[in-house]
Amino acid sequence: MNQVTSFLRPAPLNTDVAVEMIGVNKWYGDFHVLRDINLKVMGGERIVICGPSGSGKSTLIRCINRLEEHQRGRILVDGVELLDDVKKIEEIRRDVGMVFQQFNLFPHLTVLENLTLAPIWVRHLPRREAEEIARHYLQRVKIPEQAEKFPGQLSGGQQQRVAIARALCMNPKIMLFDEPTSALDPEMVKEVLDAMNELANDGMTMLVVSHEMGFARQVANRIVFMDEGQIIEANTPEAFFASPQHERTKLFLSQILH
């Protein structure tokens, strides 16, 4: 029991550097997707990344847990550098949760099994303990009654909340979100944003690719604007919305805020 409670304790707010990207470059063949990315995310910080379609937002956050490989520059996650070492990469992935636009729940497993798979096979927790943790997080995303169902039987909003809970069950230090609400019907967006809000209040380090500007204004410490593979501008929400520095940012904001 003691072990479980310690496992459930929210990550302490710290001032360490959670993610550091130094001069990161990436190409798809000839196509230069990421250009000289420099980004430092402190522990407990919440970053919202926005920008036009194809600007490299997904690629950037997918580099942080090595779903994509960068070719030049350095990426350090929680002080550990991402290199070709498979064991190191798996270690980093354990501590970095990810939520996808398309949910990517495992359709052949129940909700509970989705949540306990990695804790059992990666963290080697006993099943009973893994289930206890899973039910705790289902409670937190407000769908404790769906544990025995299969993902296909849930609404989009419920599925995305399961996906958040699934990532949290690994007790990650950092959470990555790639447009978590873009595939959802409008009435379901709020329930997912609420869950993310709560996570932010607990002090989770978050990198969120999103065009939900209301959420950004409310939750983000910094907003990062990307275009054509570059970080054009990074600022606090107040400054970002009140006085955008670059023409492209202004154009983007005028389009997205009407």
Binding site: L67, H108, L109, A118, W121, H124, P126, F150
Partner: protein
């Protein structure tokens, strides 16, 4: 107001889908009945005209021919019925071994084709493209005539296989174990070891679920299965003897003899079918979206468990129906044995027996019924398995 059902508009029975469905089925059954009746009465009429006694009277008649591979006791004074069983067992033997090896090879090549290793993926691709585009019959002739018949004929030139075996044009000769007094105990020890291993596996799984502690399962299971029979054998003073094949006057004598016809057929079937199974497996793995792998990776699961726990269970649903038909193809293709002289059901029964008795209708019908039964049983087993993996969703 009336109840809702009384206001429901009446549909003419002519347009009621349920009525129509039943009508179609009745019509189809009637049609098939007429066709079958016609075929049978026609055959009987022809046979009586040709004065061939119909029926299975020949079943208990002496066959009078030899068969060079028999899994059950048989000699040329055995009956035609006995020859049928010999042929059936030979077919089942090559089909069963073929299915097992083709599955292993096919999965390996299918997974290799999707490997990140360029050379491995390319080699697997070339294998599939070459093998599945050459007729199986040619491949069988190749293995039989170009490979196995090209082996040395002279006894002195036979390849010697380490451990006391020989390989030459007449086949593969391996030592045959003979179990003496006391080996029964080793056998019992083996069974007990297997039981212990199963119990151990169940308990270790339960312990893993309760405490999270994991043990080197494979090593311990292996030890449980291997050590007790070895100890029992040692205590009994190793009562197992081997009859080693030795070069006789005309041929290698003693030991187990594996015919070149059998090897050629097994090689051909396995290599050919594996190419198709590899394609089936590749398509199945492809059908699982990239997002599934990424989700598993992002949770820290390594490649192996990701394949085993996430990708393959989902791919299996796509794989099983075409895999079943590959199994059926392999079984049916085994009847090409006739081309290289492996004594399978077709070669013995619809070949020699049919020629000698002239009972074409009985022999061919029975043989077809046998293949149909084998196929239906295979399909049934695969469907049961399919239901097990499919039910998991929804």
């Amino acid at each position: 107001m009336d109840a809702a059902d009384s206001t429901k508009p009446k549909v003419s029975p002519l347009y009621d889908p349920k009525v129509r469905g039943i009508a179609y089925q009745v019509a189809l059954c009637a049609l098939i009945g007429v066709l079958v009746y016609g075929a049978i009465s026609n055959a009987i009429e022809n046979l009586t005209r040709a004065k061939i006694a119909s029926g299975f009277g020949f079943w208990t008649t002496t066959a009078g021919f030899d068969i060079n591979q028999t899994l059950i006791e048989y000699s040329n004074i055995s009956t035609y019925g006995r020859a049928f069983w010999v042929g059936l067992l030979n077919t089942l033997l090559v089909a069963a071994l073929g299915i097992v090896f083709a599955t292993i090879l096919g999965f390996a090549i299918g997974i290799a084709r999707l490997s990140r290793n360029w050379l491995l993926a390319r080699m697997a691709g070339v294998y599939v493209e070459v093998i599945r585009n050459i007729p199986l019959l040619l491949q069988l002739l190749f293995w039989y005539n170009a490979v196995l018949k090209a082996l040395p004929e002279q006894l002195q030139e036979s390849f010697i296989i380490p451990g006391g075996g020989f390989l030459n044009r007449r086949g593969l000769f391996l030592p045959q174990p003979v179990f003496g007094n006391g080996s029964g105990i080793a056998f019992v020890a083996l069974i007990l070891g297997i039981v212990a291993a199963i119990i151990f596996r169940i308990r270790i799984k339960r312990r893993h679920e309760q405490t999270g502690v994991r043990a080197p399962v494979f090593a311990i299971v292996l030890a449980l299965v291997v050590v007790p029979p070895l100890v029992a054998l040692a205590l009994a003073g190793f009562p197992i003897d081997f009859i080693y094949p030795y070069p006789g006057r005309f041929n290698i004598q003693g030991g187990i003899e594996i015919l070149p016809e059998f090897m050629a057929l097994l090689f051909g079937l396995v290599i050919y079918t594996a190419a198709f199974i590899a394609e089936v497996v590749r398509a199945g793995l492809f059908a699982v979206s990239r997002g599934q792998t990424e989700a598993a990776y992002s949770l820290g699961l390594p490649t192996g468990p990701t394949l085993r726990l996430v990708v393959i269970p989902q791919a299996m649903r796509v794989i099983i129906p075409p895999l079943t038909s590959q199994y059926l193809n392999l079984t049916k293709n085994s009847s090409l044995a006739v081309a290289i002289g492996y004594p399978d059901l077709v070669q013995i029964f619809t070949g020699t027996v049919l020629n000698q008795t002239g009972q074409a209708v009985e022999v061919v019908t029975l043989t077809m019924a046998v293949y149909l039964t084998i196929s239906l049983v295979t399909s049934l087993l695969m469907n049961l398995y399919d239901r097990r993996v499919a039910l998991v969703e929804r």
